[in-house]
Amino acid sequence: MQTLRRPKLCDQVARPIRWLLSIGIQFVWLACGVTYAADEFDSQILPLLRDYCNTCHSKEKVEGELDLQRFSSTGIVKQHTEVWEQVLHQLELGEMPPKDAKQLSNHQKQQLMNWVRKTLDEVAIANAGDPGPVILRRLSNREYTYTVRDLTDVDSLEPARDFPVDGAAGEGFTNVGAALVMSPALLTKYLDAAKEVSRHMVLLDDGIRFSKSDSAQDWTDETLAAIRAFYARYTTTGDAFKSIQQGISLDVGTETGRLPLNRYLDALQGRGDTANLSPKYLKLLLDALETSRPSPVLAPLCQKYRAKELVAADIEAWQNVLWRFTTVGHIGKVNGPTAWQEPVTPIVAKQELQWKLEGNRDHTLYLVATNAGDGDEGDQVVWERPRLVAKGRPDLPIQSIPGVVEYLESQRTQLIADSEDCLAALAVGKEDAPRESLAIWREYLGYGVSKLEPLLDRKIESASGYNFIQGWTGDNALSVLANSSDTSVRTPGTMPGHSIATHPAPDRASVIAWKSSAASVLRIDGSVVHAHPECGNGIEWALEVRGATATERLASGFSNGSKLIHIGPFENVRVEPEQVVALVIGPRDGNHSCDLTTVNLTISDGANTWDMAKDVSPNILTGNPHGPWHFLSQPTSQGIVNELPEPIATWRKGPSAELAAKVREHLTIDFPLTHPLLAVALRSFKPSIENVDLTARAPSVREVTIPAALAEGATLVVTGRLAATDSGSVQMQIQADKPTKTDSILAGQASTAQQKAQWSDNRLVTQHSSPIIANENSQERKRFETAFDEFRSLYPLALCYERIVPVDEVVTLTLYYREDDHLQRLMLEEPEVRELNRLWNQLRFVSDAPLKQVDAFEQLWQFATQDADPSAFEPLRDPLKAQAAAFRKVLTGAVPLQKRAIIEFAAKAWRRPLNAKEIADLQSFSPRLMLVRVLTSPAFLYRGEKAPQVTGAVNDWELASRLSYFLWSSAPDEPLRALAAEGNLRDPDVLAAQARRMLKDARVRRLATEFGCQYLHVRDVAELNEKSERHFPTFIDVRDDMQEEVTRFYVDMFQNNRSVLALIDADYTFINKPLADHYGLPFEGAGWQRIEGLRDRGRGGVLGFAATLAKHSGASRTSAILRGTWMSEVILGEKLPAPPPGVPTLPEEAPEGLSERQLIERHSSDERCASCHKRIDPFGFALEGFDAIGRIREADTKTVLMDGTAISGMSELRGYLLNQRRDDFLKQFSRKLLGYALGRSVQLSDQPLIEKMVQAKDHNIGDLIEWIVRSQQFREIRGNDRIINQPNVSLR
């Protein structure tokens, strides 16, 4: 194959040529200073044509539609170079003259070919740099998609998915104007696609953004995610923490949003780096920790810091007692919290201290008074009335303890001695037993009076608006109600006609008691049904027979939804006079919401029957007690007591002397000092020592010992205070271990609980285990308050409420809650605060929250009217309405800003500045329609370029588009736009530098697919459906990866400026695990990896890509013809003649006993086909070592190429290409790249540029691309003067 002479003169002469052209001379062949012998054509060439060609290609015959007779001079030849290129090609192929015609001698043939070549070269040089005829280009589907994605920054948009497939033209790419058509149907699709894109536009308070979703909810979620991501930069991440409300576990907040103390402390104390930490907070902390402070809280921290021993736990101890979290779903309601994170101050004037003693053993406890870490001045303390408290016995001052033990021991002896007498007396109701012992036994066994108090004493005249619902009430919803009507109503629990219902309080159970007037044997029948099972967690109940101290529990349990629970009937229940039958209804787990319970008791002694509902429901307000019925309450903590042990219980049911003896016997064996009998005995114990206060000077420790007999079930109770009323500060504690340090401050623990009556009114109460004891208004108190404030300002628990959407109330009111003042104050600089505010404004705007909030309020208010107090929310009504009104103004005010943003968008989409008329026109549309209009305009859909009068440079904006669509298939980015606006892009150096920059960018992937893959004809391998599943079941799963390999190969080549020869001889490629398995290559790890040493494994470059090998194969077999044709035409740029008519088709599968190669050889031996197949088949035979999906296999790969070179297999084919055919490959690649860059066919006048590219040193792709972007054809446009109907002149 011949090469062109390098056209050295061309650059210098280009301008005069254009000047000449501009004055109307179309083709000037003398201008390059080359002169021709006018007679060469006449004397040498014309005779040859006349003798060998014109017999067929004459004016009359016009064989092959070719008339060579009309070429009577060199000038005419030069005007129709396309004809002569074809002539030359036919001569080179040896197709002409035909075999059966008169043949040219070798010398004549060479003479003719040389002349044609020379003449064509002259034309090429003369016209070098001609921009050529480029037809107005619509964006291809790919370009449209990429442009939309870049403009919106949303990579998932597929607006063109329903568009018809684009056609290819020019050099075989889908970016050539001629093939990019428009039709009404397509225009409608563009309109629909624009509407679709517009549905992804999010209108904001200050402009627009785009989302991958077209759902408003997703837009809100995206903004939420953006705010949370912002928060996460400075805060910790972690789990949600919960609060239980009405039996439902709800998130109060999350661990996310907390102050990440450890990282800061580590950084400040040299244990960690400051990456991702706030410089502002680092400085604040440093200042605080390095400054000595008098603060009793901060000073110890500074001290530890100086020793580099400060850890987060030191600070957390105080954070936990100085802060608390609340619920935010109702912030703003009456008595509600004011913030999520509220300060609490652990300072009291007096402290109740309790220590619960557990286990039947001796205890030693310490009463500790410390000086609270601020010196001892004024720290005289009083331990008020230290005493042991236990249920059912008098409080015992700790000073009286020794005497008590002595007393109990003597009582025990006496009770055993008197037991049979006492029981005998009790059995018959007589008094003939030792008086003191008898009293104890009587009380223990319940032969006494049960105290019925406190009775409910407030009347309810009408409940829930029904005057027939009346009853008695105490605090916190504690009540007993009666329905005197026949009608069942909701209050809101269900109350059937003539029923009694009761409701417990959170800390008190409701007790309905029937008092016996005489000793009797009863039949007791009861029922309980939870009247309001739709909410709350139900109730617990118990039915008991009670004496003064003894209680016998007949039954107990929990409510079961709305199911009626029958209790009993219990037969033969023995009661003494004054004993009571009690039905106890308590809140389950302290949760009393929705606990209304319908109850009844029917008691009969054989003669009389008492039916509570019947007796009480008509007139409950007659009195309490109501006949024998008493309505009272008891603490929920009071569980079942005094289950009588055997054999006492047996005696109690049926007294006899034998059983009494057994009781005595039992007591002699098992009668600990903790026995309830002795507890009864203790009731009459009179301590010889009155309760005495202890005083001490802090710091001090006082030891207290409590014997086992008194310990079980007892609590040591004492009140701590200062002796003086105006000074001092201490901390007072009961401790089990003797303290070692009494002159420092202790943080202790805090616990916060809700004191809740109904859901509209929840209050929080925080209790501290180690508060500072200081008097009101004292200096010391102020000092501590200051210290706590200082601490809190530096160490909030949380920096922000990261959850944002509160779910911490059963029905929330607040939709999005913002609390990030600590974050702003401690960590953020001004621009960050602005950014955060912007996001929050966006959230409110996108979510429409201020308007929705009005609906939320109205409904919450309605709910509250039914089972709570709606007035709690009343203060919120007007502010919410005002916010909604203000928001409506924001909505209106945002429109001009949105429009402004869309105009900015339009300038990017149209790839040029907009003029005033265009802006005014766009403004007349509503924002969303405005976007539709922008994206349907020809200014967006077409790459229009202004036609100059005279051929010359395109303007900067057009050049920016040329470059960006060449390299990125998309609109210019910001740097390109800036250069275009400055008018600098026309400088070729600037343009080349931009090309280099853009090649490094990830968007160059589009060049890889649109140019690279299309060039190799593997653009569609990922969608290749033709492979036989029977033969190649694995193909379908790996075809995407095959194409991805090629794409990645190109991306690497572009980004790293590699030689284009790598396409032939690369020793590396990019694969993932499935592809490695497909190739049989070793692979470790995951994802895509670059691997080396490919040549040794029989691959490397396009010859070994599964994509190219599979694409150029049949469905079930390889095809040496397809691969050979591809090699010849695509890689080497040879032009093959069309196959002769009537060629027999090959079977899809090779017949039995015939290899694929043999099949093809048999076909190619056909006389009519042989001439071409000799050229193409050998390339395919050399690649027979790969099967139809590109896997290596055993095969005969020996072959002789057309030019006589004998090769075997892929590696020798590669060697042949690199050595013998290197320039052909480079020329073909350059031609394709140039054709793609220009969007047209390459023409004769491009030959000099292509030659330059072929000769480029190292063949680096970046250099090739730079040659192109610097070229005239790339930077210039034909003027109107040159727009003639000139046929496209193609290059050989």
């Binding site: 497939v165 428009m182 909701r490 269900t494 739709e534 509160p806 209009r933």
Partner: protein, 442 residues
Amino acid sequence: MQNHQFARRTFLRGVGVTMALPWFESMQVWGDETANSSASDAPIRLCVTFSGNGFHSKEWWAKGEGRNMELGQVLTPLADFRDKLLFVKGLYHEEARKGNIHSSQTGNMLSGAPIASGGAIRSGTSFDQLLSQTYGRSTKVPSLVLACETSNPSVHKNYSMLYSSHISWSSPTTPTPLELYPALAFDRLFKDESSPEDKSVLDAVLADAQDLRRDISSSDRQKLDEYLDSVREVETRIANAGKRGELQGWRPTLDKPNMTRPADGVPQDVAEHMRLMIDIMVLGLQTDATRIATLKLNNDHSALRFPNVPSVQQPGHGIDYMIHHLLSHSDGEDWLRVNQFFMEQFAYLARRLDTIQEGTRTLLDNTMLMHCSSMMAGARHDNDQLPVIILGSAGGRLQGGRVLDYSGKPDRQLCRLFLSLMDKMDVHPPKFGDATSMLEEV
């Protein structure tokens, strides 16, 4: 699917893209029409109504067949329609039983999808909206989604209350916006709005093209003329759009609304509001402005009161002393009365549809009219079985006058019923919600 795509692309390449397009597109449009049996039959419509908080625990039942069917007291307003009534018992949504009561139901009423908690909003596309993706292209409005109670945006027991207020979902994160205002619902059906917008855009881009044409070369002008001609032709098509109906075999019995546009705002009276919404829905179906309609009569966890409904328990008053939600807990006489009030609305809708003759059938016969609620009995909050009734015979494909009882049977997903109903309209997703097969009996 892949084969289909492949075939289509190959086909386009083979024939030549420009030539193929108009023909291909028209194929697709008429393809939908022919899917519905004979082209001269009226299309089948779907209409779903919903009320929240379930029904009276003892009075939602039906026994027997056809005209002899016995009905529980809630259903007495439907006595006239017994032979067209399909009473379906025992179906449920597994996903609706997770989470809490109220707020975590309803949102998947028509999709059976899992529902997101913690204040997030994610459910599933409802089957009415799935149908509207197919049939929406054939009618002016893809679907009519109406409501008589405003939705509540707050969070209830960890679940957004948007769930309690939306049965139609266009996508998993988009509860289909509800139209509460009768006048705006009317406008949506009968006010021409999309074409003028398209036309304004086309006018503007035509002007752009003419501007551009001045600056470009003569050869580029030829290319741009393809665009200019296309714009002009699309404009002509829009202008002629109204005449397209002539090509179809079936014509709706009414081409313009036969009622005046309702007054702006929401009627004070609940009953009047519901009647108006029903009238508009009927009109939409009758004029073939839409084939899919849903009407949420109230929310689950509803705060509506019914002063217009006389109280049994407090004679002389309306039932205004308690909101719907709490009334549902009482299970009393007044609750029953309110249930009947809702069924009266449903019966009114059926009666309206039944008076419109479409060939040999009535509009009711050509419709699948379904009513449902998110729980069986408000007093129990139980959704192990959901109340569902259907009226109308889907153009003869659905047989009424029957009671189908699935309680105690396996695979009693409500989504199976939805698959059956979609089947009547020739839409066959391989699975829907938690179901993969239809109910054979339906």
